[in-house]
Symmetry: D2
Subunit: 376 residues, 4 copies
């Protein structure tokens, strides 16, 4: 009978793994707001906090000539940067699952530029067998696209490629290896195309990568942004032009796009906190460790198959449909896509805000459940 | 001799009156961030804080059907709202000194719309004598512009007016009276043009106005925004469509403009704090009171002439050029424009962060100075 | 020896089949310019010629309420119409080979709208076997795309579909059957999406189709344009809104897009000529008949394989690479794409300007050549 | 009595002076279409006619390195050129009556750029007394605007000037002297701003000017266009970058703006005709001569006052209101603006199509009328 059901004792438990932007800010960030609140400051990026944060980012990236701009959010950053870097007749190259191609409400096209999708070589993709993309833009596919374009007599009637966009980590949580980045960098260099890396979740990517560091990124990318919103800040993204290669009049361009904060310290204070004492990278590590522990639970203990093999804070597992409802009582997560009539791929996202305790309780709860103790 | 100069004892004093966005946030706002930080929330505007803030704003405006959207900054808000409300072939009417016409780096035109400047009737303006605009758009001038436009056979080859933009308070700190707003509202209604009120400094305007309240604004304006950045928040503006008259698919439109915050609680939490317990209006009152006290000091005690008669937190005085340097040692302010060869109009801005103590010290210092005690 | 080579006698022969826009205008069109040249007329679309042409088009389409606008060229027409019909947050759906997706230099995205590509169901496409697209957007694929979109929880973060674009004939010369158009119309109606038909080569499409007529098009399409540039005119396209369903202020919209001709008679006179006495459809028939005769020559006599089975004035054949050079001495044509290491698909385009004599000579020449008489 | 009224014998007479675009094309232009109609040609600007026309224009301008592009109409040309030359954060400077500021339906703003109005120094303007602008942008006003802008600390928040736009002749038919152009050129050079001359009516301007020639224009302007639509062509404008200074990828840019004609010979043939044998300049002279004769009739014979002193084909006279109706029976003209309660300024435009006979008849008619013979 219901009264004897142990489930109730866990009633308070709901571990939120829907996304990495459903929290407040890392406590160090909030504390920095408090400490600096009464200080008066310059505005429009000239405040002392933004200046300090810029210096820290330059140092962390080993890029003393880097220009750093602070914007408020990811879509805003992508649209502003892509539009500012491209010539009007140019488009931006990316893979099909790229955030700018799918989930930004057409913000890039809204600035007048085509998003040019590079598809994987079909034969190879089929060979891989799974039918699932790995969410990456591969250098060989990019090169093939470019060769094809420049061989076309009618190229001038088509949108000229002006930039290459990738995300690190990708939408599917996967990571480019240092070698993959080098290959992309080479193709981009050969075709004089800037390589732009969207780092909305960069903290988790750098933390999880065996060989990609901020300094390496600063060498291989022409532009990248260090995501704050999903990585410990209330809001804010730091755009880095590592070689001092920002377009002219960048301040006016950012303002035109509605992306210039008068009270620029809002983001400056946050990145000042995130880049003092290595907080940015350490909070990424914590989240990735918990994601791996979740993976162990899901795969090794509960026997779910991974939908894609992700080493970062976004985890994707294939869940039998009849277990979805029960799972939802314990975890908040996102349905990703149907896999077959009986299974659904779901996304579970840890973040800097996920705690050891939450995952431990989840382990206890789900194992207990799997042992047949669940009651409705 | 320098040693006997008393000035040194005030060395630490520098009252910052350059702008109302060189501070952090009101302590109640920061405290609310702390209190709510560990709570998990929905995103993209669905979070509990944004919902609560919306409810409070609806109530404060006496507009139960109002739709409320939270954006991050003023230029962003103006560009997004104007572009979303206008048809592509329409422009926005405003007076020459309007913020959108001068200081937004062309963000409105960047979205494809002409800013249509309504000039005052020259004869009347000359009659007024001062040569100084009062920063307002007057209903008679607006009506004359519209009559002229619609009488023109070639109107279809010109930009069609699609909206009227004013600021409350204006760029010059002045305020429309309730009757002036009513007259504008009538002209707008007659021509089926929505009236949009930019309230970047609305807290100070409402606090200073004898007859304009939030509910009145919600009756007379078709759209207005309640400024946060300059009125106690770290960032954020609340756009109100008081009659539930927002354009369709507003969320997608906001996102397209790069103005949708994933972690929407960032602004939600702040407006939740600002609109609980009447904080928004009371902080405006405090700043206005100190501005009036500053005016008394400048005009009645020190004998400066006002450049314009402003009842709000932006004060403009005509300073003899030879006193500018000395004044700068005590106060941070902005040079507005030259008045004649010997005088300069300067702007002094109080805010929610200005303290009684600061103004008191300033009085003491400046009076002491004026008494001939200054030393260099 | 060279002296005995008969080729020289054909030296003058070069039948131009590169495109249908490398000629002047149909002589009836030019004659109409001459006849009307000294007449003074209204401008911006109010001239008597444009009015007459509009009346003729309405009659030919059996659409007495149709609104007809004359623009100058195809890309201009597509960008202007699509941008005018769509809401800012909407995109236009089309198949991958659509002209707007490939060969308009991103003119649609330049107006701020995403081109949303509907891909064929892979399984079916593979089943078809050829690997060659038929250049059409199929109703089943369209419906699947739309179902998918509207089932997505994140739809508001994606570009909303606002219109469906097809060409008649397609880029590959193929034609939708009346039933295929009806199916597309049904899907569009179910989803409240206007169906827009790009008729750059409409004269050839209608002439070749067994069941699609102008009146049927006017019933099934919400907007279509009757191409002039490729169908007998010097320049000009007639946009038809068959149900009087043009967006408001269309004249201003067209002008904004730089597409309003002051001297509107320029296009008016041409469409007046093209739609008097059925010239438009009869010149299409002539070109299609010659295209079929060319097909007979290429396939039945010379043994080339068609690359795609086109019933219209654009013909695509697979030519052995070693014969390309020789063929080029007799015909101007366009290389379409490589088929395999030894073969290339080429496009041959007849038009209203192609003559019986040209095709006859070509037959003689190529048969004579094929008989082994060619010399270099 | 009515029966004896001679007016009836003139019933057929209506001299059309409403505009210079209500005719067909100069007969030499039409003839050239006929002569070349059956020739096959390249497209997108590579046709032999466009190439020949470009060579003739280069020669007429004494600018062997000039790049010449052919577009279809004036608004299209202005929007395309201005948008292609400006950086996104730049605006275009012009005087208040400039065509781009008033009568292009906001086409420039539609491409994202602010039209920055340079107002005349009020004191001087008042001194001039008439209250009527001369339709020109004066170098001193331009310089003052620029000095002001660059002295402003907040310049980066305002739209940066990126180009100067003037028309030759102006909207009011007036002409810049060679010295005035030199002064503008100097200011532009000092501020690194390209000077762009809109020559929609250039034929009439050059014909009427005592000292401005095409070669001088090619020296002093950085970009200008030679108007065809109003000067003998059916349609078409020739944009000249005299120093080979066109922006990169101009063809793609033109196409993006919907301004690239596939069948480029349409404009090529026309400019080929207009620039062979000096036709362009001679047709301008003819129209100006007739405009002067009209001026003699209106001022010296009929006693009307000129509204503005125009030396070109656009003439402006002040007509007593009670004579408007009668005048309209003889001449088609445009009402420009009311002058006072009893008088209206009207515009009378001659063109290449106006004939000696028409003006002669008009003289006869109006003099006869003025002698009191009019009957209603």
């Amino acid at each position: 009978m219901a009264g004897s059901c142990k489930r109730r004792t866990f009633a308070a438990l709901m571990v939120h793994l829907e996304s990495d932007y459903n929290n407040g800010a890392h406590e160090v960030v909030l504390r920095h707001f408090l400490e600096t609140n009464t200080e008066r400051s310059q505005s429009y990026g000239d405040d002392r906090f933004s200046q300090q944060a810029r210096a820290s980012i330059r140092e962390a990236c080993g890029a003393p000539d880097a220009q750093v701009y602070f914007l408020a959010g990811g879509t805003q950053t992508n649209a502003t940067i892509i539009d500012s870097v491209l010539q009007p007749y140019e488009g931006v190259l990316c893979c099909e699952t790229a955030h700018i191609n799918v989930h930004e409400a057409g913000a890039v096209e809204f600035t007048g530029h085509k998003v040019l999708v590079v598809r994987p070589n079909q034969q190879e993709a089929d060979h891989a067998g799974s039918g699932t993309s790995d969410g990456k833009l591969h250098a060989t596919d990019l090169r093939a696209w470019l060769e094809n374009y420049f061989a076309d007599d009618t190229a001038e009637h088509m949108v000229r490629p002006g930039m290459v966009y990738i995300t690190f980590p990708t939408e599917l949580g996967t990571l480019y290896t240092a070698d993959e980045l080098r290959s992309l960098h080479e193709v981009c260099e050969a075709y004089h195309l800037p390589l732009y890396v969207d780092g909305a979740r960069l903290a988790y990517g750098i933390a999880a990568s065996p060989d990609v560091t901020l300094p390496l990124l600063a060498q291989l990318a022409d532009i990248f942004y260090i995501g704050g919103t999903k990585c410990g800040a209330l809001c804010g993204e730091a755009v880095v032009f590592p070689k001092g290669n920002a377009p002219s009049h960048m301040l006016s361009r950012i303002k035109q796009h509605g992306a210039l904060l008068a009270k620029s310290r809002v983001v400056g204070v946050q990145f000042d906190a995130l880049f003092a004492d290595g907080l940015y990278l350490s909070l990424g590590s914590d989240a990735v460790r918990l994601a791996m522990r979740l993976g162990h639970l899901f795969v090794d203990v509960l026997g779910y198959r991974p939908f894609i093999d992700s080493p970062t804070n976004q985890q994707f597992y294939i869940i039998p449909n009849e277990q979805l409802e029960n799972l939802r009582r314990h975890i908040g997560f996102e349905v990703w896509c149907p896999v077959d009539a009986q299974h659904t791929a779901c996304r579970f996202v840890t973040s800097w805000a996920t705690t050891e305790a939450e995952i431990a309780e989840l382990e206890q709860e789900l194992v207990w459940n799997a042992a047949g103790n669940a009651c409705l």
